[in-house]
Amino acid sequence: MLARDPRAFDAFFSAYARRLAAFVSRRSNLSPAGLEDVVQNSLLKAVRSLSSFRGDAALYTWLCAICRHELVSLHRKVTRQPAQDSLDSASSVRDTVLELRVPAEFEPPNELALEEHRGGIAQTLNGLPERYARALEWKYGDGFSVQQIARMLGLSTIAAQSLLARAREAFKAGWRGEQPQ
């Protein structure tokens, strides 16, 4: 990308933009517009400081760190705003409603059930060691292959496979605990 190769930019954008959007979506209840802003700002910061990326971490991990900073600063900005009831405050309610309507193939009750299911998954993952949770998120949330995960974690493919198997086992145990008997 530093050599101004448009194909490199295409590869960069198509590999990471969707994954970053999913990353933000899993960590916030932002409206689609808010989500677009966070993804765009994160990618802008990334391309501006691309020359400073030393390659110590995987590119995706670096992008996620930028994205996380962006989310934290957005959260700070929101919490700093005075709590006032105005017509604008209704926009958050409107965003939630819009969000529920976005996937047209889902009826609202199904969507709510899905949200509940997602909440349960997130809770189970939060109870796992960070390395397990991250590997599972990369595999099932971001669609990275075992080889890619191995590279990102600095492991051999076999070690990554073994880590994923252990993470799945831990998730299964936690998930069983979460499920109503």
């Binding site: 954008f13 999913a22 677009e36 765009q40 990618l43 997602r118 099932y140 669609g143």
Partner: protein, 95 residues
Amino acid sequence: MNPQPEAPLDLAERSLEQGLWREPLSNEAHAPIRAVVQAEWLASLPDSARCWRYRGIAIAATLATLAIFAVSWIQPAVGAIVFGTVVCADAGGLE
């Protein structure tokens, strides 16, 4: 005996996929982001033509400096250039 040893794992994997996989932005939503990021990417990279121009100037300046040093190093052997002669130094000035 466990009749379905693989079933819980499959269920767990399916649950993980359902819970984690998201496609929050459409292609239409990605398009403007892509345009903005691409423009910023191009603007943030150093212009290669300008870069080569600066590199050329730097090389020329280095060569010129080296040439001056080379001439001043060779010159004493041939004979020093006389800019002037001090005739008398007296009370605060030269004559």
